[in-house]
Symmetry: C2
Subunit: 345 residues, 2 copies
């Protein structure tokens, strides 16, 4: 690779930040894990095997963490209602919805690797991934039914509709280099930000937050989700191989159109546009194409501008929790958004 | 085709029976259709197009009919609570779950035709079918959330888990000629009967049925579902081309293992077993194989025995609604089960 971004020293990495915030809610996260394990159980051995493969493969559990954090931000360390584990059950439901979409996503994208391991569709074929995704999705609804109230049920059901619509919107614009940023933001909002937001909302509602508090965390989740995904998209064109669980260049190999590509295509000259048409729209790639892609992307500062867009959403996210009084929970949530930006360096 | 089953004259066909019972609940079924149309709406045009293609393609709407019939069997024509349309919304939810599973089923089975038209996966590719299936599934949960109570939500969420587990169980035993009847019944119970049963249960609960009434209709649905699917499987090896919406021989072409095949394989001699291994397990089929399959199936009376099994379930179904006093609703539900048996002639 020809363009190496400098590896800046940061006080704390995103992963360290996740570890620190996870330590604050250790007991809750252990409980979430217990419910997840309990609900992976199935009389059909293949269901268990495939579901466990993905859900126990060392993901960050970022979405359950948001549910639990939102719950405690509102409670501010106060005692919770005796025996109330609604936020725990809902956090597990959110993780199940997330995992179900990953399974179906990998089928749609024909992905071969996730988190450095073969994808489930690669290991067990597409059919199994589709069906086990359906199983996890159904399990999520069982959990919601058990631990949710009418408000949280509505949020999670609406979010599931939004996610699937976002997936189809993306598929309908597959390989179309001329989509604009707005459509791309719509897709990211639907596919990623909506579940971040739902995770925060169901945590807030379980803590009996006020309308203003729930709305604050709803906005926090949405904007953190946008930040997270834009940085994810930028990382795919960075050259820092140390980023955990990411395989640099995968989006390019799959011809996936993300913000760096949208910006680069818009700014490209005719010769460069032909390059994008061949490599992305027609997916006819040759040796050296990824380096060439990086060159064009860097020539037009598309990574910097993607990060600038991400920074905008991170600012909105951090400001949205201003209404809460200072606490270690608030501080850590804001810090998480900030360090998520630095994942790329 | 060499073996033509006689076309017996029946007083009334299954389709006529569906029409008659549908006429009893015309207003409710119009309302179900209105909610279905309303909920097919999406900002993403492709979602709408694909969802409408399948859900408006002239299915029998058998499951919503069961919800509505169960509701009225309990109410027995009595006035319903003012403005209560819970059973309508739940009937639509059941149809959405059914349609979502059809979309994913056709992807899993690589089916090319359904109800005499190209399948959605054939028309728009597998990816779209997977995602629009997810959309319909999510829409079902939105409807459940809106029109359900904790009991109906639990039933439909549990049923969705059961369906997906049944699908995986079937896939895990794909092309395995040595599966026994019990496993086959487990699959049919999970894939078909559980949703028939759920449809009846949510209708009964919406009508505030007693525990005994709800359980009676739960059993009715399960056993009607078993009857329906076994006859469906038998039809695939019948020679009556007039059966609406069925393409005779499709199961054989796809190498799908259903009861006629399980019975035939168990009774086959070595030469015949080799035939099944080649045509079903290895899916290497030649011209004339279907006729040969029919010959073996008829030699061992496998269709008759499949019908005998179906008859067993139909008896249980009809007896299970004994607890209800006589009414036109009860009479029509029992008749529906009886005529479903005669679909094959």
């Amino acid at each position: 690779m020809s363009n190496v971004l400098p590896l800046k020293k940061k006080e704390i990495t995103f992963e360290q930040d996740i570890d620190e915030i996870s330590a604050l809610f250790k007991e809750d996260l252990v409980s979430v894990n217990t419910i997840i394990l309990d609900k992976l159980d199935s009389n059909v051995p293949l269901v268990q095997e495939v579901a466990k493969y993905l859900i126990l493969s060392g993901g960050k559990r970022l979405r359950p963490l948001l549910t639990v954090s939102s719950f405690h931000l509102i409670n501010n360390g106060g005692l919770q209602e005796e025996n109330s584990i609604n936020h725990i059950g809902l956090a597990a439901a959110v993780e199940f919805i997330h995992t179900a979409t990953l399974l179906h996503d990998d089928v749609i994208d024909e992905s071969k690797q996730r988190r450095g391991k073969p994808t489930a569709n690669e290991k067990w074929k597409n059919k199994t991934s589709v069906l086990v995704g359906d199983f996890l999705f159904s399990r999520a609804f069982q959990l919601m039914t058990k631990y949710g109230n009418s408000a949280t049920l509505k949020i999670l059901a609406d979010t599931s509709v939004t996610i699937s619509e976002g997936e189809v919107l993306e598929l309908a614009n597959d390989k179309n280099l001329e989509i604009n940023e707005d459509l791309y933001f719509d897709v990211v909002n639907a596919k990623t930000a909506s579940l971040f937001s739902a995770a925060c909302q169901v945590g807030s509602i379980s803590a009996n937050g006020t309308k203003a508090e729930i709305n604050a965390l709803k906005s926090f989740g949405t904007n953190f989700g946008m930040t997270f995904q834009l940085i994810d998209d930028a990382i795919d064109y960075s050259s820092n191989q140390k980023i955990i669980g990411k395989n640099i260049g995968d989006d390019f190999k799959e011809g996936k159109i993300t913000l760096p590509i949208i910006l680069a295509f818009g700014r490209s000259n005719d010769k460069e546009k032909r390059f994008w048409n061949r490599t992305i729209s027609k997916l006819k790639q040759e040796l050296g194409d990824f380096d060439n892609a990086l060159e064009i992307i860097n020539k037009y500062q598309c990574i910097e501008d993607t990060i600038t867009r991400a920074k905008h959403f991170s600012n909105v996210a951090i400001d949205s929790i201003d209404i809460f009084k200072e606490s270690k929970f608030k501080e850590k949530l804001a810090s998480l958004v900030s360090t998520s930006l630095s994942r790329i360096y």
